[in-house]
């Protein structure tokens, strides 16, 4: 089942604490932000968890499929070993 980047909006800090205590959602605590109508935090959730949270009164914004999006990053990983020529000095 795909895992999505989600933004979860809750009414108060109690609701945001319950994301971890009661719903066991993986949230990124450093993104916890107060907004006009409560709080929001970023996290990861699959479709079942999103439905569970919505049923519990949270507003959930569903963003990218993180596994699909993350594959793009692999093109930024070095191939081979750029230091091998210099490493000859170590022998």
């Amino acid at each position: 089942m795909p895992n999505y980047h989600v933004t979860i909006h809750g009414a108060d800090r109690e609701a945001m604490a319950d994301l971890v205590r009661a719903h066991h959602v993986r949230v990124y605590g450093q993104t916890l932000t107060e907004e006009d109508t409560g709080y929001r935090v970023s996290g990861l959730a699959d479709e079942d968890t999103i439905k569970q949270l919505q049923g519990a009164g949270y507003r959930v914004e569903q963003h990218e499929d993180v596994d699909e999006a993350a594959q793009d990053s692999l093109r930024h990983v070095g191939q081979g070993n750029r230091f091998l020529n210099q490493a000859g000095d170590l022998r």
Partner: protein, 388 residues
């Protein structure tokens, strides 16, 4: 340019400790092989008589935070090149002079362990870029874990240290602790404190380099500099109220800002001098980061709505409370880089976006080391004055 892969990080560190720098570096082989049989290395940079103090820089604990080893390799390469050539270092708008580089290397043990979780990094860089943990295989009888999104067996090394590790006992049942006993969770704390070879390697360096007085663990993301403690609010007045007293088990992890407040009124003791030093040196690091490319990092206590257990910075700091023969090690965590619209790219930005982050964090670490060196030199002068 691209992120350094696992082999490249190891080669870069070996080169930095190679013949041109042999007079002021030591290549350290860590004693515990990883689950996949890799041997890790660290480097110590110091010249002259035994150092009175040291800074320990750690990176690569969380596999998907690809930039942390790159930051520390850049730091080591610049520091060793500058010391050998008698030059200063410039990173964006931040700079240290040749004299300041000399002060760092001649005064401190700078211990750098850039890639503490090579198995996880390799897996993240080749299979699952969202992978966070080490590669401990599933134990017999463990539930099958769903795949993707960083799920699967393995241990979150930064929940595996021996600091309030047993969170179901040591924390309040009402605490929203950012730690899990579920082996499939990406914040799984492991079968026991220090159960993992990677965690043991981090601790081994603290044991074997007692000069270390400052510890900085490099992570992403959030543009934060966090200092002790991460389990509950700091307090400076009651030394008896602390993590080591089981009388407070079941009461920790409810910061006062939690709705309704903390019914047990537990807060974690930190000596006022330590807190002052943490904030003073952290401020210098923050200001140097901002001088590099203008990014405003936030300096704050580690604890938030979601407290933590078993983390590296709190373990490093806790050691001297439990064993008075050990010197104090002040602990920090840097969370580099901003949140981006994509979560994967928050953890590992496209490499061109990583370059200024490498520079700004390097600038912050250099400023921190310089401040630590000055503090050490001032203490030595005071001692000399006292002793006549």
């Amino acid at each position: 340019m691209t992120y350094l892969n696992v082999d490249e990080v190891e080669t870069a560190i070996a080169l930095a400790a190679g013949p041109p720098n042999a007079g002021f570096t030591e290549l350290i082989t860590l004693p515990n092989q990883t689950w996949e049989g890799r041997t890790c290395h660290a480097i110590r940079v110091h010249h002259g008589a035994a150092a009175r103090s040291g800074v320990y820089l750690l990176g690569g604990i969380h596999a998907r935070e690809w930039g942390s080893p790159d930051i520390l390799v850049n730091f080591v390469q610049l520091l060793t090149d500058a010391y050998r050539n008698g030059t200063g270092i410039t990173q964006g708008g931040a700079a240290v002079s040749a004299e300041q580089v000399r002060a760092i290397v001649d005064t401190l043990d700078v211990v750098v362990f850039p890639q503490a979780n090579p198995d996880g990094r390799h897996y993240s860089m080749t299979v699952d870029p969202m992978w966070r943990k080490n590669r401990r295989p599933a134990d017999a009888g463990d539930p099958g874990c769903p795949s993707g999104g960083g799920n699967g067996p393995g241990v979150d090394i930064n929940r595996n240290y021996d600091f309030l590790w047993d969170f179901p006992t040591t924390f309040s049942p009402s605490a929203p602790v950012a730690t899990s006993a579920d082996p499939c969770s990406e914040i799984y704390y492991g079968p026991g404190a220090f159960s993992e070879p990677e965690t043991c390697n981090v601790g081994w360096l603290l044991d074997h380099y007692p000069s270390v007085g400052y510890f900085i663990d490099i992570h992403s993301f959030g543009e934060d500099i966090l200092y002790n403690w991460g389990d509950d609010d700091d307090q400076v007045t009651d030394p008896a109220m602390n993590f080591s007293d089981p009388a407070y088990d079941g009461k920790r992890g409810i910061p006062d800002s939690t709705p309704g407040g903390d019914p047990d009124k537990y807060q974690e003791y930190i000596p006022a001098d330590d807190r002052h030093t943490l904030i003073t040196l952290g401020t210098m690091m923050r200001d140097a980061i901002q001088a590099a490319h203008g990014r405003p990092y936030t300096l704050k206590q580690s604890v938030g709505l979601y407290p933590t257990s078993g983390t590296s910075d709190d373990y490093a700091y806790s050691r001297s409370f439990l064993d008075s023969s050990k010197d104090t090690v002040l602990g920090y965590t840097i969370e580099w880089g901003p949140q981006r619209s994509s979560i994967p790219k928050s953890f590992h930005p496209d490499y061109p976006d990583m370059v200024p982050i490498i520079e700004e964090v390097t600038a912050g670490l250099l400023a921190f080391c310089l401040a630590a060196a000055r503090r050490t030199l001032d203490a030595a002068l005071a001692d000399a004055h006292t002793n006549g």
